[in-house]
Symmetry: C2
Subunit: 244 residues, 2 copies
C-alpha cells in the first residue's frame, strides 16, 4: 500500500471538515467512501475555499497535493432531474474544483511545487448532468495541465482519475459486464500510484481507456453495440418528469 | 449552400431575442457571428427558457431543431480570471444547454422527432474555465445521445460541433499553424451538412479529430511537442491575479 507523508494532502470531500483530511492517505479511503455532500453544502463557494486555504496553511503549511474528490449525483434521466439537482452537480463536481484550486494554486506557483488531482468519472446515460459535470472536470484537468506547461511551471503536476462503478453506495445496485464493481481500496491504490508516478490520466480499470479510444476509432453503430454488450445497469429514475 | 425550411430552427444565442432566430439558416450566421452575451444576460435560467419555449410553440409550432450556440469567454489564465467570469461561462456555455433542452425536449419526445445541436469547441490553455465549460457541453451531448438511444427515441437526433478559431472577434488576434482561421460561413456550412446527414460529431477543420485522437494514442511528450508545433496564439490576460 502506497502511503504519503502526513500533512501533504488536502482532500476536498463531502461529510468532513478539512482537518480530518490533512493527515494521511487513509483519509482518501474515507473521502472516496462517503456519499452525498452534507457539511460543505452551501459553503463550497470561493470565499469559503480561500478561508479554508488560509486555515490549512496556518495549521500545516503549504499544501503539496490537492485532491478534488467531492461529488454528488442524481441518477435519473434528463427530464426527471430537477433544476436544483443539476445546479448542485455542477457546483460540487465542477465549480468547486475552480474554487479550491484557485485557493491553493498561488502558493504552488510561488514554490513551483505541487500536485492537483481531479477526480472525474467514466459515467454514461441516465446521468446527463453528472456526466457533463465530470466531462467538465476532465476539461479542467486538461486545460490546467496545458496552462501550467505553457507558463513553465513544470514543478506542479496534475493527475486525473477516471473510474467506473465503485462500491460506495454512490450509485444504487450497479452492475456491468465490463468487469466487477470496483472496491474503494483498489481505486485509491491506482490513484496513489498515478500521483507518485506523475501519470496524467488514471483509468480504473485500465481497459476503460481502450473503451474511450474505441469511441473515436469505430463507427457509431459499432460503438453502440459495444456499449450494449457492456450492459451497465444501476437504479435510476426514468420518465418522472420534473415539475421544477 | 444548405438551407433549412423556415421556422424549423431555434437558435439559443446571445444578443437577440428568440424571434430573430426562428426563420432561416441565415440566422445561424448571425448567431455564430455575435460576441458576448448581453440581452439574455441573467434571463438564461430555467423558468425563462420554459417561457420562451411556450412563446415559440404558440408562434411557430413545435421546434424541430434546437441549436445551443450561445457562448461567452474570458481569455485569461486561471488566476487572472474572476469568480463571476467563471460562473458566467458555466451558466451560458453549459447550464443553458440544460434549460433550453429541458424546455424543448418534451415535445420532441412526444413526437419522437427532433434534433438537438450542441456547439462545443476545440479550445486549450489560458482558458481553463472556457475549456472546461465546453468539455461539459461535449459530455452533455454524449450522455444525451446515449440516453435517447436507451429510451428508444431514435427519431431525435443529436449533433455536436467542435471548431477551432473562428473569425468572429470572440478571441482577439488568433493564429495557429493548424491552418487558417475559420470563416463563419464555412463553419455554418459544415454544421448544416452535419445536421442534415445526422453526424454525431462535426470537427472543423476535420483533421481536428485526428489531433484529439493523437492525444489518446501518443505518449504525453509527443503530444506536448505536437501542440507546441501547432503554435496556437491569441491575446490573453496572464499573470494578473484576480482579487475577486
Amino acid at each position: 500500500m502506497v502511503r504519503l507523508a502526513p500533512s501533504s494532502l488536502y482532500v476536498h470531500s463531502p461529510n468532513c471538515d478539512y482537518a480530518e483530511h490533512t493527515v494521511s492517505v487513509g483519509n482518501v479511503w474515507k473521502a472516496v467512501n462517503t456519499g452525498a455532500l452534507h457539511f460543505f453544502n452551501n459553503k463550497l463557494h470561493a470565499p469559503f475555499c480561500f478561508f479554508i486555504a488560509q486555515k490549512v496553511k496556518k495549521d500545516v503549511g503549504d499544501v503539496s497535493i490537492l485532491v478534488n474528490n467531492a461529488g454528488v449525483i442524481t441518477a435519473a434521466d434528463l427530464l426527471s432531474t430537477q433544476d436544483h439537482q443539476i445546479e448542485k452537480m455542477f457546483e460540487v463536481n465542477t465549480l468547486a474544483h475552480f474554487w479550491t484550486t484557485r485557493a491553493f494554486l498561488p502558493a504552488m506557483m510561488s514554490n513551483n511545487h505541487g500536485h492537483i488531482v481531479t477526480v472525474a468519472s467514466g459515467a454514461g446515460s441516465f446521468m446527463v448532468a453528472y456526466c457533463s459535470s465530470k466531462f467538465a472536470a476532465v476539461g479542467f484537468h486538461k486545460a490546467l495541465t496545458e496552462e501550467l506547461s505553457t507558463l513553465g511551471k513544470d514543478g506542479i503536476k496534475t493527475t486525473c482519475l477516471s473510474p467506473v462503478f465503485i462500491n460506495t453506495g454512490f450509485i444504487k445496485n450497479p452492475s456491468t459486464r465490463l468487469g466487477k464493481i470496483l472496491e474503494v481500496e483498489e481505486v485509491v491504490e491506482a490513484l496513489m500510484e498515478g500521483i507518485l508516478t506523475n501519470q496524467k490520466m488514471v483509468f480504473v480499470p485500465p481497459h476503460l481507456s481502450i473503451a474511450l479510444l474505441s469511441e473515436m476509432l469505430f463507427p457509431e453503430r459499432a460503438v453502440a453495440l459495444l456499449k450494449k454488450l457492456t450492459n451497465a445497469k444501476f437504479d435510476a429514475v426514468v420518465g418522472q418528469r420534473s415539475t421544477q
